[in-house]
């Protein structure tokens, strides 16, 4: 044992536990609106993640216990389950989680070494491979009871008289995008559709607010810093506001963007992932802002209804560059261009 001989009793597990804790309100709200389907997905994802992690650790010849206990695999599973449609088939979440853990995390060297956010890798794989399945979003207080939800997830069987359309609906983001593409009327009239609530999706806006609450808890606990979330929301707003002011009939209001879809989940739980994000404060600002911009661009001009995963993955690629460019000068030193400047 070497100096320092004393250490602050903070561990990776504690950090991960706090993040998991911060997700609980959102889970509770989701279950209230959408039923126990989410709990099923959470359990499936957790079990798959832990098994996959353990198997991969074994294969890599690394001790399994300390890494399973760190909670990072569980967190990945939860984030993934929360971003996927709750009414997705059981194998969908399993495949996505497997990809997240095996390819997104362990193949890169496990905890701390993954350049991409594993949960977003899993989500992107599912989104790209099974676009149809990924559109099965449940409706709040939908027609399926718990048993029916279970049956639907595991055997794709619906109670008599119900069709797929009757139990699922498009997300507001999806709906707006399709309708506008089809040359639909202005935003105001589109917003009359049943899936819209006060600000964004009915029900889902409350889940989003729960994410906000969890995020504030993490900020208060100093588990995350404010730069990345703030910058991400700022980036999103920075594009949303001018376009909305310019053509309010065609571009939905910024507040909708801030609450809809996975915005707040991404802001407080995804872009704040330390492993795949930059480390310096300035780097976090750039990273978050970039994610915000990309989310808006992909949502409004791109091919997918929601964009958090792709935006985050794209910015993940840029992280080493951001880190390199934003490395603050050491104590008492000026910018690192100093040397070059002297010679020039």
């Amino acid at each position: 044992m070497h100096a320092p001989y004393i250490a602050r009793p903070s561990t990776v597990s504690v950090i991960m536990l706090k993040v998991l804790l911060a997700l609980l309100p959102a889970i509770a709200v989701s279950v209230w609106f959408y039923g126990i389907a989410l709990l099923v997905q959470l359990s499936l994802a957790s079990a798959t993640a832990l098994l996959a992690e353990a198997a991969m650790l074994r294969l890599r010849g690394v001790p399994v216990a300390p890494f399973l206990k760190d909670g990072s695999a569980l967190l990945t599973a939860w984030l993934l389950a929360l971003s996927m449609p709750a009414l997705g088939a059981w194998w969908l979440i399993v495949v996505a989680t497997l990809f997240a853990i095996v390819v997104g995390k362990q193949l890169y060297g496990g905890l701390g070494n993954n350049p991409f956010n594993p949960a977003m890798v899993g989500f992107a794989v599912a989104m790209v491979s099974f676009p149809a399945q990924m559109a099965h979003w449940g409706m709040p207080h939908g027609p399926l009871d718990s048993a029916a939800q279970l049956a639907w997830i595991f055997s794709r069987e619906l109670p008599a008289g119900l069709s797929l359309d009757a139990i699922s609906m498009a997300t507001p983001l999806d709906y707006l995008k399709t309708q506008l593409l089809l040359g639909g009327s202005d935003i105001a009239s589109l917003k009359q559709a049943p899936m819209f609530g006060h600000i964004a999706g009915v029900g889902s806006e409350w889940v989003a607010l729960a994410y906000l609450g969890g995020g504030l808890f993490l900020l208060q606990q100093r588990v995350i810093s404010y730069q990345a979330p703030l910058a991400m929301l700022a980036g999103l707003t920075a594009l949303a506001v001018p376009l909305w002011l310019w053509q309010p009939a065609h571009y939905v209001d910024p507040l909708f963007h801030l609450v809809a879809g996975a915005t707040l989940l991404a802001a407080f739980f995804i872009v704040t992932d330390p492993v795949s994000g930059p480390t310096s404060a300035r780097g976090k600002l750039i990273f978050g802002f970039g994610v915000g911009l990309l989310i808006y661009v992909i949502r409004v001009f791109g091919g997918y209804p929601d964009a958090a995963a792709f935006a985050v993955l794209l910015m993940n690629i840029a992280v080493p560059l951001i880190d390199q460019l934003t490395r603050p000068p050491a104590f008492g030193k000026r910018k690192r261009t100093k040397k070059a400047g002297q010679h020039a």
């Binding site: 100096a3 250490a7 480390t279 104590f331 030193k333």
Partner: protein, 663 residues
Amino acid sequence: MSALFRFHGGIHPPEFKALSNGTPIATPPLPARFAVPLSQHLGNPAKACVALGERVLAGQRIGDADGRISAAVHAPTSGVVSAIGPHAVAHPSGLLQDCIVIDSDGLDNWCAPSPLPNWQDAGDDEIRTFLRDMGVVGQGGAVFPTSLKLGVNTLEQLIVNGAECEPFISCDDRLMRERAGEIVDGIRIAAQLMRPRTVLIGIEDNKPEAITAMRAACAGSGFEVVAIPTLYPSGGAKQLIRILTGKKVPHGVRATDMGVQCFNVGTLYSLKRAMMDGEPVISRILTLSGDLARPGNIEARIGTPFAHLLAWAGIQPDSEGVIMGGPMMGFDLPSLEAGVSKASNCLIAKSRALFPPRPPALPCIRCGECASVCPAELQPMDLYWFAKAKDLGRAQEADLFDCIECGACSYVCPSQLPLVDFYKFAKDEIWAAERDKKAADRARMRHDFRQLRLERDKAEKAQRLAARATPAPASSAAPDPDKAAAIRAAMARAAEKKAEDSHAPAKTPLSDDAKRAAIEAAMTRAAANKAARESAVSTAAAPGDEAKRAAIEAAMARAAARKAAQGAAAGAEAGATPVAMPASPSQPKPAIDDAKRAAIEAAMARAAARKAEQGVEVGAASAAMPSQAKPAIDDAKRAAIEAAMARAAAKKAERDAAQKGDN
């Protein structure tokens, strides 16, 4: 009260100062044996200046400073030098270093103090030498010789470091509480020497008694005691300078270049003791803390074995090793036999309760906590990454050497990584690589120079050889051209002497022809002798007939000699060309010279031969056979002489005959 600044980062570790700061500075009994390290400071170790078995007095200098960056060491008590050599020291490596071991005589007799009373008037050099010889070094941790820090005489701020930010340590705290007056005297000396505009004394606000004591001592002096917020590592010189002045002294820049200098309170205390009391640094205040029955601060003589102090303080049986220094930057003491040095500020007896083992380390998750607490504003996770991958170049680019190894990053690391260990490793590797590279460059230079020298020597030798060879060149036809040439030259010279007409063409005699010529010459000689004898006899007996016969014989001899010379010339003409030719392929240039020389010699020889021909006796030149060179000379000479005698005799005979005829 000046405004305070903030340095980036910093941590609030638990303090544990109450363990040791409650009791006054104690003086433990002296041990029987002291081990005084010769290297207690940055720079060259001191050179022992006492002999084995010598009796020393307390305060007597036993090691001289070696060079500019060095300091003297002194005997901590009176006694006998019982050993000078490798001994355990307080170093993390556990390696031995040279120490002077003194067996105490128990009397603790002091030598006469030698203060520098007129220090106000003394020159810089005098003060420096004095401090160096008194062994005054920085007691904050770096043990930099104080003499070298005093060289500046204009300064904006003089910073006095009483921050003492590391947990457990309270030696400066007690020193300030109990000996504030002497510290302030020390500050006065430093201030007079360096003439700062302001003097700021920084003390962390967790030491209110020390602040009060120092404020009281400073009353009326103009020195400002500043209470700074408790934050590790505000006791780092750069950090304290930042807090008090707002200046950031970067790595590689001297604080004095930015108008600041920083001294530890302990240093100023020992400065005062040296200057005003003439007492060299043979003791220092040391905190004994941790798992001890009687923790506290002591005034420990340099060289006191740690085991002695710990036993006195009542080390607990369950303690698991001893930390030298604070818990943030200290190290495990490899041997308790080592003696107190000027750098020893704290001993902490470890126990499982005080220092629970860290949980197992996990990989870095780049949470950035380390960067947020790093007082050097580095990105510790990057440094860790590079050091771990042994990518030393990039570690250096990421300002590895700006790291002050304060341990804050490791303290907060949720992955429990021993970050500082990685930095120390990387730094040492870089130093070693640099040493190796320097050595390799020097070796390369020396090797290249050696090659150059060898080339040069060779060239010079060749030149000398060439110069020596010029006057005595050779025809390579003979086995030893030099010798042959020399002989030939000698022959030519000998022949030349006789030569009267050098213009006439002649031929070089050789081998068979020469032999024949020699024989004929011998025959001529014999004939001439006979003629001379006979003519002499005949002169006496029958002059007329005898003279006539002698004249006839001489004429015959002349004819024979001419004939011999002609035969020799014919052979030489054929042989002369092949003589020079074979030389050309092997040594082109000298060969030409040789050929020329050979030609000249041949010409000379020809001239000689011609002369010989004229004077009957041919043998001289024609006898030049390489195999019989020396005898040939003699023969030629003799032949020449004989020929001359024959000539003379013949002339005489002719004259006599003519006289007779006239008569």
